[in-house]
Amino acid sequence: MVLEPRVIYLDHAATTLTRSEVVEAMLPYFHDRFGNPSSIYRIARESRKVVESARESVARALGAEPGEIYFTSGGTESDNWAIKGVAIANRKKGDHIITSSIEHHAVLYPARYLEKQGFSVTFLPVDSTGLVDPGTLEDAITEKTTLISIMTANNEIGTIEPVREIGKIARDHGITFHTDAVQAVGHIPVSVKDDTIDLLSLSAHKFNGPKGVGVLYIRKGTRIDPLLHGGAQERNRRAGTENLAGIIGLSTALEIAMQSLFREMERQKKLRDRLIAGLLSSVPHSRLNGHPEKRLPGNVNISFEYVEGESILLSLDAHGICASTGSACTSGSLEPSHVLLAIGLPHEVAHGSLRLTLGEENTDEEIDTVLGIVPGIIERLRAMSPLYPGKEKECHV
Protein backbone atom coordinates (compact mmCIF):
# COMPACT_ATOMS: atom_id res chain seq x y z
CA MET A 1 0.00 0.00 0.00
CA VAL A 2 1.62 3.19 -1.20
CA LEU A 3 -0.63 5.48 0.82
CA GLU A 4 0.98 8.00 3.11
CA PRO A 5 3.06 5.95 5.52
CA ARG A 6 0.70 6.56 8.40
CA VAL A 7 -2.61 5.77 6.75
CA ILE A 8 -4.47 2.73 8.06
CA TYR A 9 -7.20 1.97 5.56
CA LEU A 10 -10.17 0.23 7.17
CA ASP A 11 -12.92 1.11 4.73
CA HIS A 12 -12.65 -1.73 2.23
CA ALA A 13 -16.43 -2.09 2.04
CA ALA A 14 -16.55 1.43 0.59
CA THR A 15 -13.88 0.78 -2.00
CA THR A 16 -10.51 -0.89 -2.37
CA LEU A 17 -7.34 0.11 -4.15
CA THR A 18 -6.83 -1.44 -7.55
CA ARG A 19 -4.00 -3.92 -7.11
CA SER A 20 -0.77 -3.13 -8.97
CA GLU A 21 -0.98 -6.41 -10.89
CA VAL A 22 -4.47 -5.47 -11.98
CA VAL A 23 -3.40 -2.01 -13.13
CA GLU A 24 -0.55 -3.67 -15.04
CA ALA A 25 -3.00 -6.02 -16.73
CA MET A 26 -5.27 -3.12 -17.70
CA LEU A 27 -2.62 -0.79 -19.02
CA PRO A 28 -2.11 -2.21 -22.54
CA TYR A 29 -5.81 -1.84 -23.25
CA PHE A 30 -5.90 1.93 -23.00
CA HIS A 31 -3.38 2.97 -25.58
CA ASP A 32 -1.89 0.04 -27.47
CA ARG A 33 -4.73 -2.47 -27.74
CA PHE A 34 -7.66 -0.15 -27.73
CA GLY A 35 -9.69 -1.69 -30.55
CA ASN A 36 -13.48 -1.67 -30.25
CA PRO A 37 -14.49 -5.31 -29.69
CA SER A 38 -17.43 -4.87 -32.02
CA SER A 39 -15.29 -4.00 -35.03
CA ILE A 40 -13.94 -6.46 -37.53
CA TYR A 41 -10.23 -5.80 -38.07
CA ARG A 42 -7.44 -7.56 -36.28
CA ILE A 43 -6.85 -5.16 -33.39
CA ALA A 44 -10.58 -5.22 -32.71
CA ARG A 45 -10.77 -9.00 -32.88
CA GLU A 46 -8.03 -9.12 -30.25
CA SER A 47 -10.16 -6.93 -28.01
CA ARG A 48 -13.11 -9.25 -28.57
CA LYS A 49 -10.94 -12.18 -27.60
CA VAL A 50 -9.79 -10.70 -24.30
CA VAL A 51 -13.33 -9.66 -23.39
CA GLU A 52 -14.52 -13.20 -24.03
CA SER A 53 -11.74 -14.75 -22.02
CA ALA A 54 -12.48 -12.32 -19.19
CA ARG A 55 -16.08 -13.48 -19.40
CA GLU A 56 -15.01 -17.11 -19.15
CA SER A 57 -12.84 -16.37 -16.18
CA VAL A 58 -15.66 -14.60 -14.32
CA ALA A 59 -18.03 -17.42 -15.18
CA ARG A 60 -15.61 -19.95 -13.68
CA ALA A 61 -15.38 -17.96 -10.45
CA LEU A 62 -19.18 -17.98 -10.06
CA GLY A 63 -19.94 -21.47 -11.32
CA ALA A 64 -21.74 -19.98 -14.32
CA GLU A 65 -21.59 -20.25 -18.11
CA PRO A 66 -19.73 -17.50 -20.00
CA GLY A 67 -22.92 -16.69 -21.89
CA GLU A 68 -24.56 -15.81 -18.58
CA ILE A 69 -22.07 -13.06 -17.68
CA TYR A 70 -22.93 -9.47 -18.67
CA PHE A 71 -20.48 -6.67 -18.02
CA THR A 72 -21.94 -3.46 -16.58
CA SER A 73 -20.70 -0.19 -15.12
CA GLY A 74 -20.80 -1.43 -11.52
CA GLY A 75 -22.90 -2.79 -8.71
CA THR A 76 -25.50 -0.06 -8.96
CA GLU A 77 -26.20 -0.65 -12.63
CA SER A 78 -26.33 -4.41 -12.08
CA ASP A 79 -28.83 -4.00 -9.25
CA ASN A 80 -30.98 -1.51 -11.15
CA TRP A 81 -30.96 -3.71 -14.22
CA ALA A 82 -31.89 -6.83 -12.28
CA ILE A 83 -34.71 -5.25 -10.29
CA LYS A 84 -36.30 -3.08 -12.96
CA GLY A 85 -35.47 -5.39 -15.87
CA VAL A 86 -37.09 -8.46 -14.33
CA ALA A 87 -40.05 -6.63 -12.80
CA ILE A 88 -40.97 -4.88 -16.03
CA ALA A 89 -40.37 -7.86 -18.32
CA ASN A 90 -42.68 -9.98 -16.16
CA ARG A 91 -45.28 -7.34 -15.46
CA LYS A 92 -48.00 -9.26 -17.25
CA LYS A 93 -47.28 -12.26 -15.06
CA GLY A 94 -47.36 -10.34 -11.80
CA ASP A 95 -46.55 -7.07 -10.14
CA HIS A 96 -45.22 -8.08 -6.75
CA ILE A 97 -41.60 -8.25 -5.71
CA ILE A 98 -39.99 -9.19 -2.42
CA THR A 99 -36.81 -7.76 -0.99
CA SER A 100 -35.43 -7.02 2.45
CA SER A 101 -35.32 -3.84 4.46
CA ILE A 102 -31.52 -3.96 4.70
CA GLU A 103 -30.65 -4.00 1.01
CA HIS A 104 -28.24 -1.48 -0.41
CA HIS A 105 -29.89 1.66 -1.79
CA ALA A 106 -29.04 0.38 -5.27
CA VAL A 107 -31.72 -2.29 -4.69
CA LEU A 108 -34.05 -0.40 -2.33
CA TYR A 109 -34.49 2.69 -4.46
CA PRO A 110 -35.21 0.86 -7.72
CA ALA A 111 -37.80 -1.10 -5.73
CA ARG A 112 -39.35 2.11 -4.43
CA TYR A 113 -39.30 3.54 -7.94
CA LEU A 114 -41.23 0.49 -9.10
CA GLU A 115 -43.77 1.13 -6.33
CA LYS A 116 -44.36 4.54 -7.87
CA GLN A 117 -44.90 2.83 -11.21
CA GLY A 118 -47.65 0.71 -9.68
CA PHE A 119 -45.77 -2.37 -8.48
CA SER A 120 -46.20 -3.67 -4.97
CA VAL A 121 -43.10 -4.41 -2.96
CA THR A 122 -42.63 -6.34 0.28
CA PHE A 123 -39.67 -5.14 2.32
CA LEU A 124 -38.98 -8.05 4.66
CA PRO A 125 -37.88 -7.31 8.22
CA VAL A 126 -34.70 -8.80 9.65
CA ASP A 127 -33.87 -10.03 13.12
CA SER A 128 -31.55 -8.21 15.49
CA THR A 129 -28.51 -9.75 13.81
CA GLY A 130 -29.67 -8.70 10.36
CA LEU A 131 -30.87 -12.10 9.15
CA VAL A 132 -33.81 -12.50 6.80
CA ASP A 133 -36.04 -15.38 7.90
CA PRO A 134 -36.68 -17.78 4.98
CA GLY A 135 -40.01 -18.78 6.50
CA THR A 136 -41.21 -15.19 6.62
CA LEU A 137 -40.02 -14.80 3.06
CA GLU A 138 -41.93 -17.84 1.90
CA ASP A 139 -45.07 -16.52 3.60
CA ALA A 140 -44.74 -13.25 1.72
CA ILE A 141 -44.91 -14.96 -1.67
CA THR A 142 -48.14 -14.42 -3.57
CA GLU A 143 -49.36 -15.52 -6.96
CA LYS A 144 -48.18 -12.21 -8.32
CA THR A 145 -44.63 -12.44 -7.04
CA THR A 146 -42.14 -12.38 -9.92
CA LEU A 147 -38.90 -11.44 -8.20
CA ILE A 148 -37.12 -12.01 -4.91
CA SER A 149 -34.01 -9.95 -4.24
CA ILE A 150 -32.01 -10.64 -1.09
CA MET A 151 -28.40 -9.62 -0.72
CA THR A 152 -25.70 -12.24 -0.15
CA ALA A 153 -23.99 -10.18 2.53
CA ASN A 154 -24.80 -6.80 3.99
CA ASN A 155 -22.41 -3.94 3.33
CA GLU A 156 -22.83 -2.25 6.70
CA ILE A 157 -23.10 -4.96 9.31
CA GLY A 158 -21.58 -7.82 7.30
CA THR A 159 -24.39 -10.29 7.99
CA ILE A 160 -24.39 -13.21 5.53
CA GLU A 161 -27.92 -14.10 4.47
CA PRO A 162 -29.24 -17.67 4.00
CA VAL A 163 -29.03 -17.36 0.24
CA ARG A 164 -29.07 -21.07 -0.41
CA GLU A 165 -32.35 -21.58 1.41
CA ILE A 166 -33.86 -18.53 -0.21
CA GLY A 167 -32.71 -19.68 -3.64
CA LYS A 168 -34.40 -23.00 -3.06
CA ILE A 169 -37.66 -21.40 -1.99
CA ALA A 170 -37.62 -19.11 -5.03
CA ARG A 171 -36.95 -22.04 -7.33
CA ASP A 172 -39.70 -24.12 -5.74
CA HIS A 173 -42.17 -21.33 -6.40
CA GLY A 174 -40.87 -20.60 -9.90
CA ILE A 175 -39.87 -17.08 -8.91
CA THR A 176 -36.76 -15.32 -10.23
CA PHE A 177 -34.13 -14.85 -7.53
CA HIS A 178 -31.63 -11.99 -7.58
CA THR A 179 -28.88 -11.50 -5.04
CA ASP A 180 -26.71 -8.43 -4.57
CA ALA A 181 -23.36 -10.11 -3.96
CA VAL A 182 -21.33 -6.92 -4.28
CA GLN A 183 -19.84 -7.36 -0.81
CA ALA A 184 -19.50 -11.12 -1.09
CA VAL A 185 -17.81 -11.94 -4.37
CA GLY A 186 -14.07 -12.22 -3.92
CA HIS A 187 -14.49 -12.38 -0.15
CA ILE A 188 -16.50 -15.52 0.55
CA PRO A 189 -17.36 -18.46 -1.73
CA VAL A 190 -20.32 -17.76 -4.00
CA SER A 191 -21.79 -20.23 -6.46
CA VAL A 192 -24.79 -19.46 -8.61
CA LYS A 193 -25.24 -23.16 -9.23
CA ASP A 194 -25.16 -24.36 -5.64
CA ASP A 195 -27.38 -21.54 -4.47
CA THR A 196 -29.80 -21.63 -7.45
CA ILE A 197 -29.29 -17.94 -8.07
CA ASP A 198 -30.91 -16.50 -11.20
CA LEU A 199 -29.28 -13.09 -11.13
CA LEU A 200 -26.25 -11.88 -9.22
CA SER A 201 -24.64 -8.42 -9.01
CA LEU A 202 -20.98 -7.81 -8.38
CA SER A 203 -18.67 -4.80 -8.58
CA ALA A 204 -14.93 -4.86 -9.28
CA HIS A 205 -13.85 -2.10 -6.94
CA LYS A 206 -14.94 -4.12 -3.92
CA PHE A 207 -12.27 -6.78 -4.56
CA ASN A 208 -9.24 -4.71 -5.59
CA GLY A 209 -10.42 -4.13 -9.13
CA PRO A 210 -11.16 -0.80 -10.79
CA LYS A 211 -14.18 1.40 -10.09
CA GLY A 212 -16.90 1.72 -12.72
CA VAL A 213 -17.15 -1.88 -13.87
CA GLY A 214 -19.31 -4.73 -12.65
CA VAL A 215 -21.19 -7.79 -13.73
CA LEU A 216 -24.75 -8.95 -13.78
CA TYR A 217 -24.96 -12.71 -13.95
CA ILE A 218 -28.20 -13.70 -15.67
CA ARG A 219 -29.11 -17.37 -15.68
CA LYS A 220 -29.92 -18.64 -19.14
CA GLY A 221 -33.66 -18.44 -19.75
CA THR A 222 -34.35 -15.60 -17.34
CA ARG A 223 -36.84 -13.05 -18.63
CA ILE A 224 -35.38 -9.56 -18.32
CA ASP A 225 -35.62 -6.28 -20.22
CA PRO A 226 -32.45 -4.34 -20.97
CA LEU A 227 -31.74 -1.25 -18.88
CA LEU A 228 -29.38 0.28 -21.43
CA HIS A 229 -30.81 0.03 -24.94
CA GLY A 230 -28.66 0.68 -27.98
CA GLY A 231 -25.85 -1.16 -29.73
CA ALA A 232 -25.68 -4.93 -29.98
CA GLN A 233 -22.97 -5.35 -27.33
CA GLU A 234 -23.25 -8.04 -24.67
CA ARG A 235 -25.38 -10.20 -26.92
CA ASN A 236 -27.95 -7.48 -27.46
CA ARG A 237 -28.71 -7.09 -23.76
CA ARG A 238 -26.43 -4.34 -22.48
CA ALA A 239 -25.59 -1.65 -24.99
CA GLY A 240 -22.54 0.59 -24.85
CA THR A 241 -18.96 0.26 -26.04
CA GLU A 242 -17.28 -2.24 -23.77
CA ASN A 243 -15.08 -0.85 -21.00
CA LEU A 244 -12.20 -2.93 -22.26
CA ALA A 245 -9.56 -2.06 -19.68
CA GLY A 246 -12.16 -2.18 -16.91
CA ILE A 247 -13.31 -5.64 -17.92
CA ILE A 248 -9.73 -6.93 -17.94
CA GLY A 249 -9.26 -5.30 -14.55
CA LEU A 250 -12.37 -6.93 -13.14
CA SER A 251 -11.51 -10.41 -14.30
CA THR A 252 -7.87 -10.15 -13.26
CA ALA A 253 -8.78 -8.89 -9.80
CA LEU A 254 -11.33 -11.66 -9.36
CA GLU A 255 -8.85 -14.33 -10.42
CA ILE A 256 -6.34 -13.08 -7.88
CA ALA A 257 -8.95 -12.83 -5.14
CA MET A 258 -10.17 -16.36 -5.80
CA GLN A 259 -6.66 -17.78 -5.60
CA SER A 260 -6.21 -16.79 -1.97
CA LEU A 261 -9.86 -16.73 -0.97
CA PHE A 262 -9.82 -19.21 1.91
CA ARG A 263 -6.43 -18.20 3.23
CA GLU A 264 -7.41 -14.54 3.26
CA MET A 265 -10.78 -15.32 4.85
CA GLU A 266 -9.08 -17.05 7.74
CA ARG A 267 -6.54 -14.29 8.14
CA GLN A 268 -9.13 -11.53 8.14
CA LYS A 269 -11.43 -13.37 10.49
CA LYS A 270 -8.66 -13.44 13.07
CA LEU A 271 -8.00 -9.73 12.72
CA ARG A 272 -11.71 -9.03 12.76
CA ASP A 273 -12.38 -11.02 15.92
CA ARG A 274 -9.46 -9.47 17.71
CA LEU A 275 -10.68 -6.02 16.73
CA ILE A 276 -14.23 -6.76 17.89
CA ALA A 277 -13.17 -8.29 21.18
CA GLY A 278 -10.67 -5.53 21.84
CA LEU A 279 -13.11 -2.71 21.22
CA LEU A 280 -15.99 -4.24 23.14
CA SER A 281 -13.81 -4.91 26.15
CA SER A 282 -12.04 -1.57 26.24
CA VAL A 283 -14.99 0.71 25.53
CA PRO A 284 -18.01 0.58 27.83
CA HIS A 285 -21.50 1.08 26.39
CA SER A 286 -20.52 -0.50 23.11
CA ARG A 287 -22.21 -3.27 21.13
CA LEU A 288 -21.51 -5.32 18.06
CA ASN A 289 -23.92 -4.87 15.18
CA GLY A 290 -24.60 -7.79 12.87
CA HIS A 291 -24.27 -11.51 13.36
CA PRO A 292 -21.47 -12.83 15.56
CA GLU A 293 -20.64 -15.73 13.20
CA LYS A 294 -22.58 -15.36 9.95
CA ARG A 295 -20.48 -12.38 9.13
CA LEU A 296 -18.14 -11.22 6.38
CA PRO A 297 -14.55 -12.01 7.40
CA GLY A 298 -13.60 -8.35 7.06
CA ASN A 299 -16.53 -6.62 8.72
CA VAL A 300 -16.54 -4.94 12.15
CA ASN A 301 -19.48 -2.75 13.07
CA ILE A 302 -19.80 -1.41 16.59
CA SER A 303 -22.10 1.15 18.17
CA PHE A 304 -20.72 3.43 20.84
CA GLU A 305 -23.49 5.00 22.80
CA TYR A 306 -23.61 8.75 23.50
CA VAL A 307 -21.39 9.76 20.62
CA GLU A 308 -22.03 10.53 17.01
CA GLY A 309 -20.31 8.69 14.15
CA GLU A 310 -18.99 11.53 12.06
CA SER A 311 -17.10 12.96 14.97
CA ILE A 312 -15.54 9.53 15.54
CA LEU A 313 -14.48 9.40 11.88
CA LEU A 314 -12.95 12.86 11.96
CA SER A 315 -11.04 11.95 15.09
CA LEU A 316 -9.82 8.72 13.51
CA ASP A 317 -8.85 10.59 10.36
CA ALA A 318 -6.62 12.81 12.43
CA HIS A 319 -4.77 9.59 13.28
CA GLY A 320 -4.69 8.48 9.65
CA ILE A 321 -7.37 5.84 10.16
CA CYS A 322 -10.00 5.57 7.40
CA ALA A 323 -13.38 4.28 8.52
CA SER A 324 -17.10 4.64 7.99
CA THR A 325 -20.28 5.15 10.01
CA GLY A 326 -24.00 4.59 9.76
CA SER A 327 -24.66 8.04 11.12
CA ALA A 328 -26.75 10.27 8.93
CA CYS A 329 -24.34 13.10 9.39
CA THR A 330 -21.89 11.86 6.80
CA SER A 331 -24.47 11.22 4.16
CA GLY A 332 -26.26 14.53 4.07
CA SER A 333 -29.49 12.95 5.19
CA LEU A 334 -30.69 13.22 8.75
CA GLU A 335 -31.85 9.66 9.04
CA PRO A 336 -29.20 7.20 10.19
CA SER A 337 -28.51 3.97 8.36
CA HIS A 338 -31.69 2.11 7.44
CA VAL A 339 -29.80 -1.11 8.17
CA LEU A 340 -29.03 -0.19 11.77
CA LEU A 341 -32.63 0.91 12.31
CA ALA A 342 -33.88 -2.34 10.77
CA ILE A 343 -31.93 -4.42 13.28
CA GLY A 344 -33.65 -2.45 16.02
CA LEU A 345 -31.08 0.13 17.09
CA PRO A 346 -32.56 3.32 18.51
CA HIS A 347 -31.75 6.32 16.32
CA GLU A 348 -29.25 7.80 18.73
CA VAL A 349 -27.32 4.53 18.98
CA ALA A 350 -27.36 4.12 15.22
CA HIS A 351 -25.78 7.54 14.97
CA GLY A 352 -22.89 6.30 17.08
CA SER A 353 -21.83 3.40 14.91
CA LEU A 354 -18.38 2.75 13.52
CA ARG A 355 -17.67 0.42 10.62
CA LEU A 356 -14.17 -0.92 10.13
CA THR A 357 -13.76 -3.18 7.10
CA LEU A 358 -10.59 -5.13 6.50
CA GLY A 359 -8.61 -5.81 3.38
CA GLU A 360 -5.66 -7.79 2.27
CA GLU A 361 -3.08 -5.21 3.21
CA ASN A 362 -4.19 -4.81 6.82
CA THR A 363 -1.79 -6.17 9.41
CA ASP A 364 -1.79 -7.26 13.01
CA GLU A 365 0.15 -4.13 13.91
CA GLU A 366 -2.53 -1.94 12.40
CA ILE A 367 -5.15 -3.65 14.52
CA ASP A 368 -3.02 -2.96 17.58
CA THR A 369 -2.75 0.69 16.61
CA VAL A 370 -6.49 1.01 16.15
CA LEU A 371 -7.18 -0.72 19.44
CA GLY A 372 -4.84 1.75 21.08
CA ILE A 373 -6.52 4.79 19.57
CA VAL A 374 -10.28 4.22 19.52
CA PRO A 375 -11.00 4.08 23.27
CA GLY A 376 -9.40 7.48 23.85
CA ILE A 377 -11.41 9.02 21.02
CA ILE A 378 -14.67 7.71 22.36
CA GLU A 379 -13.83 8.88 25.84
CA ARG A 380 -13.00 12.39 24.65
CA LEU A 381 -16.23 12.67 22.65
CA ARG A 382 -18.30 11.32 25.50
CA ALA A 383 -16.81 13.93 27.79
CA MET A 384 -18.34 16.51 25.44
CA SER A 385 -21.68 14.74 25.14
CA PRO A 386 -24.72 15.98 27.05
CA LEU A 387 -26.14 12.47 26.81
CA TYR A 388 -23.30 10.67 28.54
CA PRO A 389 -24.24 9.65 32.06
CA GLY A 390 -20.60 9.82 33.11
CA LYS A 391 -18.00 7.35 34.17
CA GLU A 392 -19.49 6.88 37.63
CA LYS A 393 -22.75 5.55 36.21
CA GLU A 394 -21.07 3.10 33.86
CA CYS A 395 -22.05 -0.48 33.89
CA HIS A 396 -19.71 -2.52 31.80
CA VAL A 397 -21.38 -4.70 29.22
Binding site: E308, S311, L314, A328, S333, L334, E348, H351, M384
Partner: protein
Protein backbone atom coordinates in the same frame (compact mmCIF):
# COMPACT_ATOMS: atom_id res chain seq x y z
CA UNK B 1 -15.03 19.31 3.29
CA UNK B 2 -14.50 21.34 6.47
CA UNK B 3 -12.48 24.52 6.73
CA UNK B 4 -9.34 24.56 8.85
CA UNK B 5 -11.18 26.69 11.37
CA UNK B 6 -13.90 24.06 11.75
CA UNK B 7 -11.30 21.35 12.16
CA UNK B 8 -9.48 23.45 14.75
CA UNK B 9 -12.67 24.02 16.76
CA UNK B 10 -13.55 20.34 16.42
CA UNK B 11 -10.12 19.13 17.50
CA UNK B 12 -9.68 21.78 20.21
CA UNK B 13 -13.13 22.88 21.17
CA UNK B 14 -13.28 25.98 23.38
CA UNK B 15 -15.49 26.10 26.45
CA UNK B 16 -16.45 22.44 26.68
CA UNK B 17 -18.18 21.57 29.90
CA UNK B 18 -20.84 22.73 32.27
CA UNK B 19 -21.23 25.81 34.38
CA UNK B 20 -22.22 25.18 37.95
CA UNK B 21 -25.29 27.20 38.83
CA UNK B 22 -25.69 28.72 35.36
CA UNK B 23 -27.91 31.75 34.86
CA UNK B 24 -29.35 30.35 31.67
CA UNK B 25 -29.33 27.00 29.90
CA UNK B 26 -30.55 26.23 26.40
CA UNK B 27 -30.80 22.78 24.87
CA UNK B 28 -31.75 22.20 21.26
CA UNK B 29 -31.66 19.34 18.80
CA UNK B 30 -32.68 15.79 19.22
CA UNK B 31 -30.56 12.68 19.68
CA UNK B 32 -32.81 10.91 17.19
CA UNK B 33 -31.54 13.26 14.53
CA UNK B 34 -27.94 12.85 15.55
CA UNK B 35 -27.26 16.13 17.28
CA UNK B 36 -28.07 17.79 20.54
CA UNK B 37 -26.51 20.98 21.81
CA UNK B 38 -26.67 22.31 25.37
CA UNK B 39 -25.39 25.80 26.17
CA UNK B 40 -24.72 27.18 29.65
CA UNK B 41 -24.46 30.93 30.26
CA UNK B 42 -23.14 32.93 33.20
CA UNK B 43 -24.66 36.41 33.04
CA UNK B 44 -23.72 39.49 35.03
CA UNK B 45 -25.22 42.95 34.49
CA UNK B 46 -26.97 41.88 31.31
CA UNK B 47 -23.64 40.70 29.92
CA UNK B 48 -22.49 37.13 29.23
CA UNK B 49 -19.39 36.63 31.29
CA UNK B 50 -18.98 32.93 30.66
CA UNK B 51 -20.37 30.30 28.33
CA UNK B 52 -19.90 26.56 28.10
CA UNK B 53 -21.40 23.77 26.04
CA UNK B 54 -21.94 20.06 25.76
CA UNK B 55 -22.72 18.66 22.34
CA UNK B 56 -23.56 15.29 20.88
CA UNK B 57 -23.14 15.56 17.14
CA UNK B 58 -20.98 15.77 14.11
CA UNK B 59 -17.84 17.77 13.63
CA UNK B 60 -19.74 20.81 12.48
CA UNK B 61 -22.07 20.64 15.47
CA UNK B 62 -19.16 20.56 17.90
CA UNK B 63 -17.30 23.32 16.07
CA UNK B 64 -20.45 25.47 15.88
CA UNK B 65 -21.01 25.07 19.61
CA UNK B 66 -17.44 25.98 20.33
CA UNK B 67 -17.58 29.02 18.08
CA UNK B 68 -20.95 30.12 19.44
CA UNK B 69 -19.70 30.11 23.02
CA UNK B 70 -16.68 32.14 21.94
CA UNK B 71 -18.90 34.63 20.13
CA UNK B 72 -21.31 35.24 22.99
CA UNK B 73 -18.71 35.74 25.68
CA UNK B 74 -18.46 39.37 26.67
CA UNK B 75 -21.55 40.39 24.72
CA UNK B 76 -24.69 41.98 26.17
CA UNK B 77 -27.79 39.85 25.88
CA UNK B 78 -29.10 42.10 23.12
CA UNK B 79 -25.86 41.76 21.20
CA UNK B 80 -25.75 38.00 21.73
CA UNK B 81 -29.36 37.66 20.59
CA UNK B 82 -28.41 39.16 17.25
CA UNK B 83 -25.77 36.51 16.49
CA UNK B 84 -27.16 34.73 13.45
CA UNK B 85 -26.35 31.27 12.23
CA UNK B 86 -24.59 32.92 9.29
CA UNK B 87 -22.37 34.76 11.74
CA UNK B 88 -21.42 31.46 13.38
CA UNK B 89 -20.77 29.83 10.00
CA UNK B 90 -18.73 32.79 8.79
CA UNK B 91 -16.65 32.83 11.92
CA UNK B 92 -15.90 29.17 11.11
CA UNK B 93 -14.81 30.20 7.61
CA UNK B 94 -17.83 28.53 6.14
CA UNK B 95 -19.73 25.28 6.53
CA UNK B 96 -20.71 22.81 3.81
CA UNK B 97 -24.32 23.42 2.70
CA UNK B 98 -25.57 20.24 4.33
CA UNK B 99 -23.98 21.30 7.61
CA UNK B 100 -25.51 24.77 7.79
CA UNK B 101 -28.19 23.38 10.07
CA UNK B 102 -25.52 22.98 12.76
CA UNK B 103 -25.02 26.72 12.81
CA UNK B 104 -28.80 27.11 13.03
CA UNK B 105 -28.72 24.85 16.08
CA UNK B 106 -26.09 27.09 17.63
CA UNK B 107 -28.17 30.21 17.05
CA UNK B 108 -31.18 28.48 18.58
CA UNK B 109 -29.16 27.33 21.57
CA UNK B 110 -28.10 30.91 22.27
CA UNK B 111 -31.70 32.11 22.05
CA UNK B 112 -32.96 29.35 24.31
CA UNK B 113 -30.32 29.98 26.92
CA UNK B 114 -31.01 33.74 26.91
CA UNK B 115 -34.75 33.22 27.20
CA UNK B 116 -34.19 30.68 29.96
CA UNK B 117 -32.35 33.45 31.81
CA UNK B 118 -35.10 35.97 31.07
CA UNK B 119 -37.84 33.69 32.31
CA UNK B 120 -35.86 32.92 35.46
CA UNK B 121 -35.61 36.67 35.95
CA UNK B 122 -39.35 37.01 35.60
CA UNK B 123 -39.00 38.72 32.23
CA UNK B 124 -41.01 37.74 29.21
CA UNK B 125 -39.03 35.72 26.69
CA UNK B 126 -38.02 37.31 23.42
CA UNK B 127 -39.62 35.93 20.30
CA UNK B 128 -37.68 32.99 18.96
CA UNK B 129 -37.85 31.98 15.37
CA UNK B 130 -39.81 28.83 14.72
CA UNK B 131 -37.40 26.04 15.49
CA UNK B 132 -35.97 24.29 12.50
CA UNK B 133 -36.77 20.72 11.69
CA UNK B 134 -34.56 19.31 14.41
CA UNK B 135 -37.01 19.99 17.18
CA UNK B 136 -39.30 17.13 16.38
CA UNK B 137 -37.59 13.80 15.97
CA UNK B 138 -40.17 12.60 13.56
CA UNK B 139 -39.35 15.48 11.28
CA UNK B 140 -35.70 14.83 10.87
CA UNK B 141 -36.08 12.83 7.73
CA UNK B 142 -35.14 14.70 4.61
CA UNK B 143 -36.43 13.53 1.26
CA UNK B 144 -34.21 10.60 0.38
CA UNK B 145 -34.98 10.37 -3.26
CA UNK B 146 -34.14 13.05 -5.74
CA UNK B 147 -36.83 15.46 -6.70
CA UNK B 148 -37.83 15.66 -10.30
CA UNK B 149 -35.83 18.75 -11.09
CA UNK B 150 -32.09 18.88 -11.63
CA UNK B 151 -29.66 21.32 -10.12
CA UNK B 152 -32.07 22.81 -7.62
CA UNK B 153 -29.63 22.70 -4.77
CA UNK B 154 -29.93 18.95 -4.28
CA UNK B 155 -27.80 17.56 -1.53
CA UNK B 156 -24.12 17.17 -2.18
CA UNK B 157 -22.35 14.36 -0.42
Amino acid sequence: MYSEKVMDHFANPRNVGEIENPDGVGEVGNPVCGDIMRMYLKIEDNRIVDAKFKTFGCGAAIASSSMATELVKGKTLEEAWEISNQAVAEALEGLPPIKMHCSVLAEEAIHKAINDYRVRQGLSPWGEKTPHYHEGGEECELPEEPQGTAGDGALQR
